[in-house]
């Protein structure tokens, strides 16, 4: 299996994502260039974190028009797995690959800190190895992470099991104190209806090595291995 990581101008977690796949799940990983129309035959696409186009106008707004995004949309439509991390999540929402949008944090500041997530759905390509209700610790680092959608959409997402991660406290409760950015219903990550496209604000690729304090991000990438076996 082959994983592609897109580099947009301003991406800055692309290298981290490539290393995550190569060093921690031992799969082939290739960089994908935003100006290309070539997915190089990858099975999975990672939209990495960073500040594509400087986050000017709106985070992710300009990146979604990059040539490679046409191919990624087609790949997603075919049922190909895509994960958007942080800025990648913002891009995926802007591109309509995922519902909702990410607005400025409610406190108007950038936030860099570890958060606790509760796994809400294991029915996605990226969480099938996780157990429902499991608590995962990983860092966030963003200024525009307030997940928003209208109430009807939110209800639908909850109903269809498309809420994948929620910000919770150490005991697993989605309190407002545990919500680092004002996301509606403490939503940290969502998926498309089929569970093949997932977006989340926290950084699983920064939680893979005991030396860095947490290995809880591994489960997302390990879930991909099931694809190889299938």
């Amino acid at each position: 299996m082959k994983v592609g990581v897109v580099t947009f101008p301003g991406s800055n977690c692309d290298e981290d994502a490539l290393l995550a796949i190569r060093e921690h799940v031992h799969l082939e990983a290739v960089p994908l260039w935003h100006k290309d129309h070539d997915l190089q035959g990858v099975d999975v696409v990672i939209l990495p974190g960073g500040f594509s186009y400087g986050d000017y106008l709106r985070a992710g707004a300009i990146a979604r028009f990059a040539p490679i995004m046409q191919e990624i949309a087609a790949h997603a439509k075919r049922g190909g797995p895509v994960i958007g991390i942080c800025n990648g999540f913002q891009i995926a929402c802007e591109a309509g690959l995922l519902p909702g949008g990410l607005l400025r944090n409610d406190h108007l500041q950038f936030r860099s800190m570890p958060v606790t997530l509760r796994v809400e759905s294991t029915a996605t390509v990226f969480t099938r190895e996780a157990s429902a209700g499991a608590l995962l610790t990983m860092p966030i680092a963003h200024g525009d992470g307030r997940y928003s959608a209208d109430a009807a959409t939110l209800d639908r997402l909850e109903g269809e099991g498309q809420v994948v991660f929620r910000y919770v406290d150490a005991t697993g409760h989605p309190t407002s104190a545990a919500n680092p950015n004002g996301s509606l219903r403490n939503i940290a990550g969502v998926s498309n209806a089929s569970g093949t496209v997932v977006g989340l604000m926290p950084h699983p690729e920064r939680a893979l090595d005991p030396l860095l304090g947490s290995t809880d991000g591994l489960v997302l990438f390990r879930s991909l291995l099931a694809l190889t076996k299938a």
């Binding site: 974190g49 986050d55 936030r111 690729e205």
Partner: protein, 777 residues
């Protein structure tokens, strides 16, 4: 004006540009040149300079570029060690860390721009120091920041803090470099003239090291990156003046940073350096095109010629003067091998950036600027930057500093509340200088690049692993300006010693420093005294600790209407851990562990945060700094950590032993512990000196193997003693001393320490909207 002047047209073909002002004494003065300096310029040219030439020299001979007041003193600093690959004089210093790898690092100030526009001033400071590091061929892997502000009680200071922190964060976060450490102090001495120093650390393979040295006659000079606008013209000379009201009008237009372009420039530059198509690269920083081209020519001892009409500009009608002196951000100057210009342009185009050939390296030893066919400036020789005047200003210690230092601070009566030392401890923990800086660094992405083993607030220094090896580096900035003010020589020593101690507490061997010398107006004898003595003190410590100086930055004229800021020679220290797994943090982890104090408690209250914060007194001699003992202490902690005998290590700094212990208990708010201490062994010491005095050379260690740690200390000749035990958090903190007892709950201490700055800054949120029109971040 001197008598025998030839009109510019008579020789060299240099003609005044139509429309440019004529040179008058007033114009010369406006450019910050003395008449003596102007005379030197005329003698150098053997004629009257043109307006463009006056502008060039005014920038190059500013303190910022020429070090005309500081160079002789700086020359006394040690700069060599077997591991130093590049000492002062380049864009950044470089040390080897083995395995063919090297670390490039440098610190720089952006004080004046930040005083005027905190957000953009701080942001562009980060941008500039990043470029200094990646132009060495290094990929930036960590950023640090050292900040000094006035009292957090004033709204203007809160506005500055909010803007500076957001500016640093937004820029570094966007480029994707983790900001991992720093230091912050608050004191009225910095009111009106904050210090904003940014440090960048990069990683390179030794063979990829590139220098900013123009070479090869016929090679092309290429401007790369952003277009040139009318930003910050004369920033360099401006940085060399007092920030007084008369200068307010001269305020240059602020420079606006674009971290997005910087990120592209970073990738393009590293690709360019690796491509082999270029021989030199330098950031267009202060004094922009002028200083970058003149410095590259001087290093290569070659001539250059530049055509300003070839420079890509953002605005119409820009004059050569403006183009040469613009400080537009995110620009580079590159010398490309002749015939490889197209390859250079192709690499830049890949990253959506422009590259234009604007000049050439020439055999003729001149620095020449043309505007199309017209020569608008021409200087003989290649030593424009160092052919500047040198000054040896008078140095005299101020009476006030002497009076303050010699004051008997033991005579200051304790306040009534101090009868309970817990009151004093909680109060000190609320001092913004001591309190947790979490409000600041939670706005900095500290985990991007997946290398941060120990980030801001976790240890005495940050630890960054080096991929592909077992190694890590530790980095930290430090300087207590109050000590330097009270005794510059001792203060200079302590700045280096504390930085080294912080790095050693994580398990890293201190290796080298960069420094940012923030002082007042050097023409004042008392300021020059501070400068000279502080540099001597730094030199003493660098020699003793074998941490040579690989570069730095001088920022003078840091004054406000009340006078100079505290002399603040900020030290940026880099250390190396052979095994990243040894990285040690500052907080206690395990109830039952013994607490060992390495070093000795003394009766020294002078210059302490206690006197300043609790009594409003800045006086007394700062603590002694015995460099041999510091060296032995560092040897001890390193050996103990490497032997696996240390669970946590934290040095005693502002607030003394009691604060260090409290921080070790609740610095990590999510995982607090308690502690029970017995300090009765120091029965002769006054209680407040024992608890809050800032004696140097002390480290608080927690360990499961106290005997082993004591034995190591003994071998190094370092006093060491078990002073207590780590307990569960609900046991609180108790310190028993001969002259009193200090007890408090961990919750109270944690609240004091963690909530002081957020509480103050919540007021700022209601006072200021630091949003800028452009920013979406």
């Amino acid at each position: 004006m001197t008598a025998q002047r030839t009109p510019p047209s008579a020789s060299h073909g240099v003609r005044p540009r139509p429309g440019d002002p004529t040179i008058t004494p007033a114009l010369v003065a406006e450019h910050g040149l003395t008449m003596d300096e102007y005379g030197r310029l005329e003698r150098m040219l053997e004629r009257t300079p043109t307006f463009t030439e006056l502008g060039i020299i005014s920038a190059l001979w500013s303190e910022h570029c020429s070090y005309k007041h500081s160079r002789p003193v700086l020359k006394t600093l040690p700069t060599q060690a077997p591991w130093v690959l590049q000492g002062p004089g380049e864009n950044a210093g470089v040390i080897s860390i083995g395995d063919g790898l090297a670390i490039a690092f440098k610190i720089e100030s952006h004080n004046h721009p930040s005083a005027v526009e905190p957000y953009q001033g701080a942001a562009t400071g980060v941008g500039g120091i990043l470029r200094d590091v990646f132009t060495m061929g290094a990929r930036p892997i960590a950023m640090l920041n050292s900040l000094r502000f006035g009292s957090l009680e004033t709204p203007r200071v809160r506005y500055l803090v909010a803007g500076v922190v957001k500016g640093i964060g937004d820029y570094g976060n966007c480029v994707g470099i983790p900001t991992v450490a720093g230091d912050v102090m608050f004191d009225p001495a910095y009111e009106g003239n904050p210090l904003v120093n940014a440090m960048c650390v990069g990683l390179l393979r030794e063979e990829e090291l590139i220098r900013a040295k123009a070479e090869g006659v016929g090679n092309s000079i290429i401007a790369v990156g952003a277009r040139t606008g009318r930003d910050g013209i004369h920033g360099a000379s401006f940085a060399s003046e007092d920030l007084s009201e008369e200068n307010e009008a001269k305020r240059p237009r602020v420079q606006v940073g674009d971290p997005f372009t910087e990120k592209l420039l970073l990738e393009a530059s590293l690709e360019l350096i690796r491509s082999g198509h270029i021989v030199a690269i330098q950031d267009m920083g202060a004094a922009g095109l002028t200083s970058s081209s003149a410095e590259m020519a001087e290093r290569g001892d070659v001539g250059v010629t530049i055509d300003t009409t070839k420079v890509p500009v953002r605005e119409t009608g820009m004059t050569p003067y403006e183009i040469l002196l613009s400080e537009s951000q995110e620009r580079m100057l590159v010398v490309a091998t002749r015939g490889h210009e197209a390859e250079v342009q192709a690499i830049l185009a890949k990253w959506d950036l422009v590259a234009e050939v604007i000049g050439e390296v020439i055999a003729e030893p001149v620095y020449r600027v043309t505007e199309g066919d017209r020569i608008v400036a021409e200087f003989p020789g290649t030593r424009l930057v160092t052919d500047c005047p040198q000054y040896h200003p008078e140095a005299r210690e101020s009476e006030e500093a002497i009076a303050r230092r010699t004051r008997d601070v033991a005579a200051i009566a304790p306040k009534g509340e101090e009868a309970d030392p817990a009151w004093t401890l909680e109060r000190l923990l609320q001092s913004p200088t001591i309190a947790s800086k979490h409000w600041i660094h939670r706005q900095y992405d500290s985990t991007v690049r997946t290398g941060t083993v120990s980030g801001p607030g976790a240890g005495d220094a940050a630890v960054i692993r080096i991929r592909g090896t077992t190694k890590a580096i530790a980095v930290k900035t430090d300087c207590n300006g109050r000590y330097v003010y009270l005794d510059p020589r001792v203060g200079g020593r302590i700045a280096v010693a504390e930085a080294a101690r912080n790095v050693a507490c994580t398990g890293a061997t201190p290796r080298a420093i960069t420094n940012c010398l923030n002082f007042g107006n050097p023409k004042k004898p008392e300021v020059f005294f501070q400068f000279r003595e502080a540099v001597y003190g730094m030199g003493d410590a660098c020699r003793a600790l074998e941490t040579p100086v690989t570069g730095g930055n001088v920022s003078l004229y840091n004054e406000n209407p009340q006078g100079a800021v505290y002399p603040t020679p900020t030290i940026g220290m880099v250390g190396v851990l052979d095994d990243a797994a040894h990285a040690t943090r500052m907080t206690f982890t395990t109830p039952g562990d013994a607490i060992v104090l390495l070093g000795e408690n003394t009766d020294e209250l002078g210059g302490s945060e206690y006197l300043s914060w609790v009594h409003g007194v800045v006086a007394g001699a700062p603590p002694h700094c015995d460099l041999d003992r510091e060296r032995a202490l560092i040897g001890t902690i390193l050996e103990a950590i490497r032997a696996g005998q240390v669970r946590s290590a934290h040095d005693c700094s502002e607030g003394g032993l009691a604060v260090a212990i409290a921080e070790s208990c609740m610095g990590d708010r999510a995982r607090p512990t308690g502690a029970r201490l017995d300090l009765t062994a120091w029965g002769a010491l006054p209680l407040r000196a024992l608890l809050f005095g800032e004696a140097q050379g002390r480290i608080v260690v927690s360990t499961a193997h106290a005997e082993a740690v004591l034995a190591i200390a003994q071998r190094h000749g370092v006093p060491a003693r078990v002073i207590g035990q780590v307990t569960a958090a609900d046991q609180g903190l108790t310190i028993a001393a001969a002259q009193g007892r200090c007890t408090s709950t961990i919750d109270r201490l944690a609240t004091a320490y963690h909530e002081a700055i957020p509480r103050a800054m919540a007021r700022a949120a209601a006072e200021t909207v630091t949003e800028t029109a452009g920013g979406t971040r």
